[in-house]
Symmetry: C2
Subunit: 468 residues, 2 copies
């Protein structure tokens, strides 16, 4: 039997089944216990953090094969991988392949951002059924598709209908673009790249056409009512995130962030779990400000950022431009990093891009854990360094984030088995590897006694204070 | 005629031909003028910074086809690419190919770190003759080779002989491991990976064998005398840089740094140009400390760091682990970033690795320029963002750090020419690209007048303060 089947059995039919609801009533759920073990943290801490809203456990009661995980500053930094078909590329098998790759390379959650070219419901349910990690979605795309792309016909009820459908299918968190208000739109003037959130763009068009407030905002309480019955978590979308360095940290972005903070508190009144999405494209010197501002405005609800990219001039390498920003954001306290692949801005990622993007982000998240001094974060680094110094190549590969890649690169020049015991690689060749300079403690003790008997004067024959 | 032939003609035979020597006598050399134009900075500033030692222009008078460049906090952040053959791989043609690739992808300087498998002098002179950028070397390798690898036979004079040979051949800067003192060696105890500098390891072995002080330290004045006749610059080597996160910022590293500061001042007494090498492997939260400490101990002589890598667990991706650290180091004020390729720790980089490593570091250096608010640094980003928003794909590619890669990735799914004008790529498909949401100023003015006539109450139908 699937682990969670019995866990959720007794909860079904309750009016609120959210982890936050239970935590606030001092109930430690099976999900909290599971997460506590995974994170090596006390169950009580997990419960308190979830109750406080500083940690979420996205775990839809209809996603039974889920292995629960936590997103929050008290736990390790997490990584999300976006997959999904577009009208120009991919199908359900390709997407399942991407899912498996994402999980293999350590994605903590996966978002299915399919926009078309496939049966969206079929792809989504296939992904949920196959996924041990939480699945996130952006319901706005399908809402628009359900009225054949007509902004005119798209109604408040259409949004709610699709949101509930995703909940029923077992989606663990949904990006809800409720913070983009009609009064924010004029603030976009003067931007270089306007609105770059797909969902946000749809809402903006809707508001401009209907001259009405954002339906996801006006119906926010209704969405909370739906979410609490499934324990679907909010990922409050940042429709006005900057699409380039020029637009970073501007009035539009910060106005929406303020609303996201108000919505966070509103959801918490319903005992519904919330994380908040963030940018995007941000110069390095503005990243700390962005993280601190989110913590302040959103009362430390977990921050979930996309990158940020620290320069706009490297399409083809945006997994790198953004891993730099992501690592820093994680260090400053961001809870989850949404990966960016090398194909960003250029095309739909293929499975190899998923791999490249994920490893870049596992690096960023891990570096953040180390810099935040999270308990035990550096252990694997130390173990790998010991293996490296001992020339234990196979162990070095095993401890790597991508063992196949490490082995492949090593073997490119020295494929023979014998080189797996060699005290060198082709970088420096057999005589010049600095790791061969094994100075033993005995060597050093010997040296120390010589130094103390000879005295510094005899040894140190250069006087830095003599005249030139 | 080659540009520099006439520039250096009158200097030949002078006892000191260094840029610092001239700058301190308020002479603006042709090299300083050239650099001023390149950096879009006043000539007088270049002269003052060189005189102060805060900027170097590595420009050996025997490297005639050099296009001079500057390394220092007042100028843009620079990137170095290491190339070189090892006994297990490569030859002179392969190395020239790497040189051309490095220059093509924007290397500001190139180091030839050949350790064997080729005629070292032949490769070095071929590289210098073919290179418009400064060439750096590490003379210790060849010094050891000149006595057939025998530490016992290696004499002080052997070091000086090779150092002068490199100067004669036109090497613009040499890594001189003079800061590693015999009394520093016992401080290495307790490290996980000991000494990881190739040159430093050789010096350590020499001192342990001979029980004498580091000859590059005791003969430092003599090296200055050689350098000033060619205007070869010091790159003071950090033999005790950490080889893993565990060893970062330890007593050994900081003791050597202090000596490097003393040697910096010593070289300046000779009017010889100096930059100082730095780590290595450093957790993110220690990078700022490392940069500030170097500035303090070395009186703001330009800092030249290798990475640093911010985690040890990603062999195969160390261009990324280190680009994160490099970008941050650059932001904090590091003058030049030494690239790391995906093959680091695994094998000798091939031309494709050179490309990957360089682009990662061009990203890091550029992001640093932006974060430091260097004048005009963001212009190219803004231009690319405008092209992106206008769906001008070709211009977007042209403005990229690697146009071929950007085009290749785009064309992977949409190769036909017609898609170069398309208002979408395969990422979102024809209907969902957020950049299509072009909200015009007119739309927004229209909206503003509606908002002011309707009033906020009518529009904003959700009250966040109502009871749940």
């Amino acid at each position: 039997m699937i682990m969670r089947t019995s866990w959720v059995a007794s909860r079904k039919g309750q009016s609120n089944v959210s982890q936050m609801y239970f935590a606030r009533r001092e109930v430690i759920t099976e999900e909290m216990s599971f997460v506590a073990k995974k994170e090596n943290l006390p169950e009580s801490l997990i419960m308190e953090e979830v109750a406080r809203g500083r940690m979420i456990i996205p775990a839809n009661i209809n996603h039974l094969n889920l292995e629960p995980m936590a997103i929050g500053i008290a736990s390790s930094c997490k990584v999300n991988a976006n997959i999904g078909a577009s009208p120009n590329a991919s199908d359900v098998n390709e997407e399942l392949k991407k899912l498996h790759l994402a999980v293999k390379y350590g994605a903590d959650t996966v978002m299915d951002l399919s926009t078309g070219g496939v049966n969206l419901d079929e792809v989504r349910t296939a992904i949920i059924q196959a996924s041990p990690v939480p699945i996130g979605t952006v319901p706005v795309y399908q809402a628009l598709e359900s009225v054949h792309g007509s902004i005119e016909k798209l109604s408040e009820e259409d949004f709610l209908h699709i949101i509930e459908k995703h909940c029923q299918q077992g989606v663990d968190y949904q990006t809800i673009h409720a913070g983009l208000l009609i009064e924010h739109l004029p603030k976009v003037k003067g931007r270089l790249t306007g609105i770059v959130s797909r969902g946000g763009g749809i809402l903006a068009q809707w508001m401009l056409y209907h001259h009405k407030q954002n339906p996801l905002f006006t119906r926010f309480d209704d969405i909370c009512e739906i979410f609490k019955r499934y324990d679907c978590s909010f990922s409050l979308g940042d429709s006005l995130r900057p699409g380039c360095l020029h637009d970073a940290s501007d009035e539009a972005q910060l106005a929406e962030l303020k609303t996201l903070g108000e919505l966070t508190q509103r959801a918490w009144k319903h005992d519904v779990q919330v994380m908040v999405e963030g940018p995007g494209h941000v110069p390095m010197d503005q990243i700390e400000f962005n993280v601190r501002k989110q913590m302040e405005d959103c009362l430390e609800a977990p921050f979930y950022v996309l990158g940020p990219l620290v320069t706009d001039i490297a399409p083809g390498y945006d997994h790198i431009t953004s891993a730099i920003g992501a690592a820093m954001a994680g260090w400053y306290g961001t809870a989850m990093l949404c990966y960016v692949t090398p194909k960003e801005h250029l095309g739909l990622p293929n499975p190899e891009d998923v791999r490249e993007g994920l490893i870049a982000y596992k690096i960023a998240a891990h570096a953040a854990d180390i810099a935040r001094h999270r308990s035990g974060a550096r252990d694997r680094d130390d173990e790998l360094s010991r293996a490296r110094y001992a020339f234990d190549w196979n162990k070095q590969f095993e401890l790597s984030l991508d063992p196949e890649r490490a082995r492949e690169y090593h073997d490119e020049t020295l494929p023979a088995d014998i080189y797996k015991q060699a005290e060198f690689c082709s970088m420096c060749g057999p005589k010049h590897c600095p790791m061969q300079t094994k100075i033993t403690d005995k060597d050093l003790e010997n040296l120390e006694s010589i130094l103390s008997s000879k005295g510094a004067k005899e040894i140190n024959t250069m006087k830095l204070d003599k005249e030139v």
